[in-house]
Subunit: 198 residues, 2 copies
Amino acid sequence: MELYSGCINKLIEELASLPGIGEKSAQRLAFYIINMPGDRVARLAKILTEARENVRYCTECFTLTDREKCPVCENPHRDHKIIMVVENSRDLAAYEKTGKYDGVYHVLHGCISPMLGIGPGDIRLKELMVRLESDVAEVIIATNSSLEGETTAMYISKLIKPTGIKVTRIASGVPVGGDLENIDEVTLLRALEGRVEL
Amino acid sequence: MELYSGCINKLIEELASLPGIGEKSAQRLAFYIINMPGDRVARLAKILTEARENVRYCTECFTLTDREKCPVCENPHRDHKIIMVVENSRDLAAYEKTGKYDGVYHVLHGCISPMLGIGPGDIRLKELMVRLESDVAEVIIATNSSLEGETTAMYISKLIKPTGIKVTRIASGVPVGGDLENIDEVTLLRALEGRVEL
């Protein structure tokens, strides 16, 4: 039994290995791609490669970007004295979508999780502490309200407290156990407004 | 507000334009791809392009393949006198997965749909009639049991009847393992009409 020919099978396999794409979706996608105009496929392939090759970490906040500094860190109209700490670039994007936050960010790329063996040294915490040596007025901790996110928030607040810098946590208003990227903008804003000092 | 940098935005947009991939999935996929090893991304891009460039129609049954003839048509152990007519290559794959059918196929690439303005001339029907000029014992019509699939089946059977070749239609009825209470009335009635003596 040979379902499809070599290169179709390979394409289906490759697509099915991506997260959230099952065998059926991979099949549907593969046939869609095969029927796409050749130049669109070429463009898709080029964009994939370019994104992978050009993306690096912002030297300031460590979000993923294709320049040395990300657009937020490069923007002189943002308040560089307020740093919001998030777990990943998607969470940063979620807050950017609200359009109301005008501070800058710090992307941890993960959170402390003893269960998964991820300690404070495995996320971008040292880099945050280095940033706090310059003039910073407030650190807003916006890790997820999961167990790991809360643990990380507590850990960071304890770490920062001795420096005298104000540390706040976005309010619960964000449903417990919720992933920031899936939460509507109104809830995100309310959580920002209701932030409390830790 | 600039959510991500240029090439990440472009990648998300491109992924979101594929069928069944929404904005959230596109975002998740894009970040997954950016974090994949560079050589895996290069391979994905290459496979995409190759599949698009090399795939063509089997000269015999018109399924999508990367050779002149598909593996089924090239197989001398298959019964080339029995032709199963299907709407597309995915339906062919579905029957191949059963591992029990040993005839060959004919892929129509669509079905007759007056609603969508698709007539008999828009699917690979002429090509089927040409194949019937050689030695064929039976044509099994396995179009979907939708309105369009049934219309197409009726049309094909009328077309073939004068040639004296046996024409059959796959049975429609209650799917194996299906719960009667969850099955639509049309299917239930059809299962009743098509009942066989035990």
